[in-house]
Symmetry: C2
Subunit: 333 residues, 2 copies
C-alpha cells in the first residue's frame, strides 16, 4: 500500500488521476492532493471519500511514496531534485525532462524495461501517446520508414480552462465574432487553429517536434523519419490523428487488424460497412485508443493509412502515468 501525492490536483490531469486510481484500484494507503494556496482547503469527492487539497510544501515529498507531477515544466524543474532526494518515485507529466538521456520516457505497453533503476520517469506528450501503440505494432512487424501525422486535438489539451473557453466561445458565437480568447490564440468556436505550443526555428511547433523526438526515444530508433502537423479543433475531449506510414516490409491489412485486436491499450474500430471508425464521441472517457480506417496507402508501395482517436486526458496523460506507477509497484513486490 502506497502513499500517493498528486501535485497539481486541481488541474484536469490531476483530477482524472484521482478518479482512475480508484477505478483501477491502485493499492494506496493515503492520497494527498497538492495545489497552490488559492485552492487550499477545497474538497474533492471520489469513490465516496473526501480529499482535501493542501498547499504545496517541499517536505511533503518525504511523506510520499509516489508523486505525480501534474503542474508545469518549470515547476518540475524546480522540484525534481528535492523530490528525488526525498526518496519518492516521481512520474512527471511535464515535458521538462522527457528528452533527458538519464530520464526514462515510458509507454508501459512499449518500453517499460527502459525504466531500469530510475525513480524519476517522464510521461510522454498526449499526441505522442495516442499514436504510440499503433505505430509500435506496425514498427515491430513491418519496420517503419516514414510516418506522417496530422492531428485533430481537443480543447482539453489546454486543460479545464481550454474546455471552458471552447464552451464559452460557442455560447457567445455570432457571425461577426467578438469573443476574446485567452487560452487559445484565436476564437475556437467553429474554427480550427494549426498552432499548438510555440514555433521552433524549423517551422514546426514544439508540440509537433515532441511527437517526432519522443517517438524516436520511446521506440529507441534515433533516425525514424516522422513528422506531425498539430491542429487544435473545437472538440472537448479526445485527440484524433490521421496517420500515413511507409514500412520496410509489405504490410497486410488483415494481419494488422489481428495484431491490434491482440494488443493492450488499443481497440480495433474498423468496420466501414457498419460506419465503425475512431471518433472522439466514442473514444472519450475510455482507456483504449481506437484504431480504424486501416487501408493500403495508394502513395507508398509498402504503406498504410489509418486513423486513431483516444482520450487525451486518459491514455494521453493520467492513465499512462498511472500505468507507469502500476508497473513500478509490480516490480517492487
Amino acid at each position: 500500500m502506497y502513499k500517493i501525492g498528486i501535485y497539481g490536483a486541481t488541474g484536469k490531469v490531476g483530477s482524472e488521476l484521482l478518479k482512475i486510481i480508484h477505478i483501477r484500484k491502485f493499492p494506496y494507503s493515503k492520497i494527498r492532493l497538492f495545489a497552490s494556496q488559492k485552492s487550499s482547503g477545497k474538497k474533492l469527492i471520489e469513490d465516496k471519500k473526501e480529499f482535501i487539497i493542501e498547499t504545496f510544501y517541499k517536505d511533503s515529498f518525504k511523506e510520499i511514496d509516489i508523486a505525480f507531477f501534474c503542474v508545469s515544466g518549470k515547476w518540475s524543474i524546480q522540484n525534481r531534485q528535492f523530490a528525488e532526494e526525498s526518496g519518492c518515485i516521481v512520474i512527471d507529466n511535464s515535458s521538462a525532462f522527457r528528452l533527458f538521456e538519464n530520464t526514462p520516457l515510458i509507454v508501459p505497453e512499449i518500453n517499460i524495461d527502459s525504466i531500469k533503476k530510475s525513480r524519476f520517469i517522464s510521461n510522454p506528450n498526449c499526441t505522442t501517446l495516442i499514436a504510440a501503440i499503433p505505430l509500435w505494432v506496425l514498427h515491430k512487424k513491418y519496420k517503419l520508414k516514414k510516418v506522417i501525422i496530422s492531428t485533430y486535438q481537443a480543447a482539453s489539451g489546454a486543460g479545464k480552462e481550454g474546455m471552458d473557453e471552447l464552451l464559452q466561445a460557442i455560447s457567445q458565437y455570432r457571425e461577426n465574432r467578438v469573443f476574446k480568447p485567452s487560452k487559445f490564440q484565436y476564437d475556437l468556436a467553429y474554427n480550427i487553429i494549426p498552432h499548438i505550443d510555440d514555433f521552433e526555428i524549423n517551422g514546426y511547433t514544439k508540440e509537433e517536434m515532441k511527437v517526432t523526438l519522443e517517438i524516436r526515444k520511446i521506440f529507441n530508433v534515433s533516425d525514424l523519419l516522422i513528422s506531425c502537423t498539430a491542429v487544435r479543433i473545437p472538440v472537448l475531449r479526445a485527440h484524433s490523428e490521421s496517420i500515413t506510414v511507409e514500412t520496410e516490409l509489405k504490410p497486410d491489412i488483415n494481419e494488422i487488424r489481428d495484431l491490434i485486436k491482440n494488443t493492450n491499450g488499443i481497440v480495433l474500430k474498423d468496420d466501414i460497412n457498419n460506419n465503425i471508425y475512431p471518433m472522439p464521441i466514442t473514444s472519450s472517457d475510455n482507456f483504449d485508443v481506437e484504431v480504424g480506417r486501416i487501408r493500403k496507402s495508394i502513395v507508398f508501395e509498402n504503406g498504410i493509412d489509418f486513423f486513431v482517436s483516444g482520450d487525451q486526458l486518459l491514455k494521453g496523460a493520467a492513465l499512462n502515468a498511472l500505468q507507469i506507477a502500476e508497473k513500478m509497484v509490480e516490480r517492487t513486490v
Copy 2:
C-alpha cells in the same frame, strides 16, 4: 450580356452563386432561378433586386445562355443531354461527369485551355479545389512525386442542412448525447467523423478518391501518387487541409512564398512569428484560398509540409463555377 439559369437555386451553392454574380459584376441580362415545385414562388433578394424561384422545366434550357447545375449527380445525368441540345453552356457542380474523358474538369487558374470547344464543363469537388492551386504551384516548379492530404471539412460541405444540423446538435449538446443526426452519420457537436461520402472497395471514401482522381485529371498527370483522408469537423464554413508533398526537385521555402504571393486564387498567410496561418475564421467568405505553415518536411529529402484553408462554398464550389463562366465569356468576346 448573358441569360443565366441557376438550377438548384435554394441550395447553399446556388444562393452563393446568385450573390457572387453580383459581387463580380458578371455581365447578365437576366438571371432565372430554378428549384423543385415546393420552393416555387419564393423570393431571393440580391443587390436590391428581387428574384423569384420558378419550378424547373426542361425547355427552360432553350431560354438560357449559361446554366449552372447545382442539384445532384443524378439530376445532372437526367438533364445533360437536353441542356446540351438546347445550346446552352453548362457548368455542372455535381461529380457525375467529372472523370468522363470528353468532359473538361476545370480550375481556371490551372487548365482553362482544356475546355477547348466543350460547352459542358464539370466543376471539381470542393476538397480538390481548395488544394489544387497550391499543389499546382509546387508541381510546376518542383514536380510533385507524392502528395498526402488530411482534411478538416466544414459542415457546409453537406449544404445548408449540414450547417443547420451542426448548429442544432451544438445547441442540444449534453454529455450523454441524445441528438439524432440525419445529414451526418453521427452527432457532429464537439465530434469529428472520418467518413465523407460512401466507402470504396479499397477502403478510401469516394470523397477521398475524388481528390486523387480529379487532381490527376486537372494536372494531366495520370500517375501522380496522391492520397487523402477526409474528415468532417464541427466547423460551419471553409475546409482546411494538412498537406505533405515530396517533390522531384529541391524546393525552396522563400521561393515558394514568392510564388504563392504572385499566384491568383491563393493568398499567403504564413507569418508564424505573428500567429498568421490559414484558418476557417479568416478564410470564410473570402475568394482566395489561404496557404501557410510552409516548412521543409523532416520526412522527405525534397519535401514540404503546408496547411491550407479556403471557403468551400466559394473557391470550393460557386466561385470556381463562376470563374469558368467568366473565362468562357471572355473567349467568345
